[in-house]
Symmetry: C2
Subunit: 205 residues, 2 copies
Amino acid sequence: MDYIKVPHLIEEKSFEIITEELGNKTFPEEIGRIIKRVIHTTADFQYADILVISPDAVESAKEALRRGVNIVTDTQMAKAGINKTKLGELGGDVHCYISDVDVAKRAKEKGITRAMVSMEKAIENEKNQIFVIGNAPTALFELKRFIEEKKIQPALVVGVPVGFVGAAESKEEFKHLNVPYIITRGRKGGSTVGAAIINALLYML
Amino acid sequence: MDYIKVPHLIEEKSFEIITEELGNKTFPEEIGRIIKRVIHTTADFQYADILVISPDAVESAKEALRRGVNIVTDTQMAKAGINKTKLGELGGDVHCYISDVDVAKRAKEKGITRAMVSMEKAIENEKNQIFVIGNAPTALFELKRFIEEKKIQPALVVGVPVGFVGAAESKEEFKHLNVPYIITRGRKGGSTVGAAIINALLYML
């Protein structure tokens, strides 16, 4: 069986195919890199139409990543997918509190999601992080509340929860907030999508 | 902002919506559970058409999981997404060797992917594991070779690498092998899809 085994050739060829199949759809350089990396991760060209990137998102994220910003995720999967070597070289780290014992305990007591409590915990010490929400609309609703209450001023919110209950609504809300955001319209998204967006930003630096 | 915050209600409601939107498409009970959990994870109904499940896959996997089979993944993301609490209660564990220093070293020496070397390492001691390939076609090609050379006899291969170079071909190959498999046709798949399939199987027990 003959097949390409050299890692960087596989990735190069993949991006060539994606660019070719996008055809007439072209984007500003950095926006295109984000969109193509998400398509690379999902093999789903619909992301070219449903990703929404606020005008200040790329510059704000790059500035923050350069100064070693920390990233908070709502899932261990998103954390696992982010290139922590590259992030670490810049001085940043990824935190995910969803599996913490105190988070589970408090969520059970209050009858709310662990994702919501994990966001409460995340903002205790830092106001200006990057947030990546790939799974839980409830986490995104909480972030919205924190922003409105001026408890946080994120460098970027990647709001791409996937799902059927609350996901689309939670993302639309972000368009009305004065924060840099990258979201998806509708139901699609996920932890892999969130991680791909962060990695695309990291690879710009 | 009023939204559902109770975890099990969110999941129940999601599966209701998925079942409703699948409409006339119905499946045998356990097959349906796998398909719906993948749609729940991706919000992509195309998976109802592209998932291919060998007739022996569900029973073989359940039997293996019940006796505490170990699971090998090609990515840390797939490992992160599998319900390790539930798996651990049954006596099983998840292994992923992709980030191991010796794997990286050997891959570099040979000019092949770390995913290929991680599969070599995975089969050193165990023949009858469950494999979950969500990212690397090269890992799936390696597994095919091991099976043909009778080095392994997996309880199940979840072969759902996503991508543009080799992914579709690597999955098609599995239809001709005499092993229990769950694959996707075409380019789509991914670590979240692989983890969702395993979790659907775990929740049957």
